[in-house]
Structures are given as structure tokens and as C-alpha cells.
Subunit: 148 residues, 2 copies
DNA sequence: TATTGTTATACTCTATAACTATA
DNA sequence: TATAGTTATAGAGTATAACAATA
């Protein structure tokens, strides 16, 4: 099969929002800590980048600084993120997960993944292989587009 | 390659939000009419289901009635959707695209698709084939999950 | 002067609860 | 009484513009 560029783009445009809705509704369900997708992603980034600044997180997520500031503010209020002024450069923030943030992230990740796993488990190994390959290709596409 | 259920679910959980962000930022850009993704989807649904009721649209998109009511309200205000009381059952609405809504949808669709096409055009035919197959599989997954 | 964040303001998206109008 | 929508209220996500603090 040799799908056209058009067909491929159309498929992505239809299916990605569908999947996003699925993931979002799961994140909001009572099976997991109540985290929005952006909150979840911010926590995951901070797990991998201890001590990142606000700009670091905003840059990674492609959000404006005010949006990021507000998002982090909510996580700080909930005790999931520690926010300190940097010693080197007092304009910058030093952000890190708290112990509570770390465990909340872990529970949310397990919950969200386990839900997707239920769905994915009904597929054949060959179908899963196709999905993984497609995700890797799309990850490259998104990374390239974000850098432009 | 035989990816595990875990790996597959994790990939989806990471990549879908990335792609969603890409699509959303494009929708909001000045290259297309300024439509949010839900607004775009509602217009697309009404194009295929002329005369649908509010509940029809809400059901299809998985939104609550108040959310849908407000979303449609915005589209009516912008002159993209016509909202009338049904003659048969005066509790129901009869929704339809206006001429302006129809053309706005078309322009937005072309804009969003053309942007994705630029990205997708850099891929090989084999890569596009993988993506199309994966989207078809995920569409089934989403449809099944939505019906539960 | 340039950079990092925050505040102010204003949308949209989303939900639940309470309400109105119709059947 | 049950159904279709709307209004009220609330919180998150997002942006731009204006500001404060620091370098």
C-alpha cells in the first residue's frame, strides 16, 4: 500500500484528536490522581530534568512563559513541585519534584498506561509493532516541527 | 520486532500529546481561520450530519450538554452555524452549517491538512504507509473505548 | 539594555448542579 | 415524570501585553 501524502495527513488529523480525548478522559477519571495532560507532562519533564528553570519547562512543552508559570503555580500549590529562586542567577527558578510529586506522577503514569494497556492488549503483536513504529516516526516529525 | 504491550502504550502516551500540540498550534495560527480543535470537529460533524441536534453532536464528541451548548453558541455568534428549534419536537435544536461555516471549515481543513502534509511529505512512502495503518488501528481502539 | 518570571486580562474547553421549556 | 437545552459557577489551559527584578 502506498498511501498519498493527503491521505496520511487526513488520517493523522482525524485520529490524533480521538486518541487525545481518550487519554484526557482517563487522566481525569477517578482511577488516577487528577492530573491534566499538561500537568502530567510537566511533572514527567521535571523528573528527568531536576532543577530545570521555568523557561526550560516552557520551552520543552512549547508553552508561553505565563501559561507555564500558572501551570507550575498549581502544582506548587498542590505540593507536587518545589519552586526556589536560583542561587546563581536570581532571576531564574529552580524547579524540582517533591516526594509527593514523584509518587503522584508514578501513580498517574501507571493508571494512564494501564488503561491504554487494556486497549492495546486486545491488538495483535503485528498491530502493536505498526503502532510503535508509527509513534517513533511521528515523534521525529513533532520534534522537527517544534524546532522550526 | 515484537514490542511489548507496555512499550506500545507508553509510546502512544508520549507521542499523541506531542502531535496534538502541533495540530492545535497550527489551528490557531494565522494561516487558517481561528478555530479550536473542538470547534473544527463540531463543524466537520455538522457537515456530515445536517440538522443534527445538540445531543447528537455532544454524543459524537463525548462532551457534556452544557459544554456543547457553549461551544455551539460561539459558532452561532460567529455566524458559522444556524441554530433553530425543531418543528417536530420543540425541545430539540436543529443545527446546520451556514454558507460561511461551510467555507470556513473548508479553508481550515485545507490549512491544517496542508501543514501536516508539509511534514508528512518529508517521509518515505513506507513510513507513510506505517502511519496510515497505525491510525486505522487506533481509530478502532478509540471507537471501541468510546462505546464502553 | 536584555532576560526571567509574574500579573492582568481575556478567551476557550470542560464539568456539575440547578433551572426552563416541552413532551 | 422524563427529556433537551440553557444558565450559573468553577477551574484548567492558553495567549498577549504590561510589569518587576535581576544581570
Amino acid at each position: 500500500m502506498q498511501p498519498s501524502v493527503d491521505e496520511c495527513a487526513n488520517e493523522v488529523l482525524e485520529v490524533v484528536p480521538l486518541m487525545m480525548r481518550l487519554i484526557r478522559s482517563q487522566m481525569r477519571s477517578h482511577r488516577t490522581p487528577d492530573l491534566s495532560v499538561p500537568q502530567f507532562r510537566a511533572l514527567a519533564f521535571l523528573e528527568r530534568h531536576e532543577g530545570a528553570s521555568l523557561s526550560d519547562v516552557a520551552g520543552h512543552m512549547g508553552l508561553s512563559l505565563p501559561s507555564m508559570s500558572k501551570l507550575i503555580d498549581g502544582l506548587v500549590t498542590r505540593g507536587l513541585v518545589a519552586r526556589q529562586t536560583s542561587f546563581n542567577d536570581r532571576r531564574c527558578l529552580t524547579l524540582a519534584l517533591t516526594a509527593s510529586g514523584r509518587s503522584t506522577l508514578e501513580v498517574a503514569r501507571q493508571g494512564a498506561v494501564s488503561y491504554l494497556k487494556e486497549q492495546v492488549a486486545t491488538l495483535s503483536p503485528a498491530e502493536r509493532a505498526i503502532i510503535v513504529q508509527a509513534m517513533q516516526i511521528l515523534r521525529r516529525v513533532a520534534a522537527k516541527a517544534a524546532g522550526e
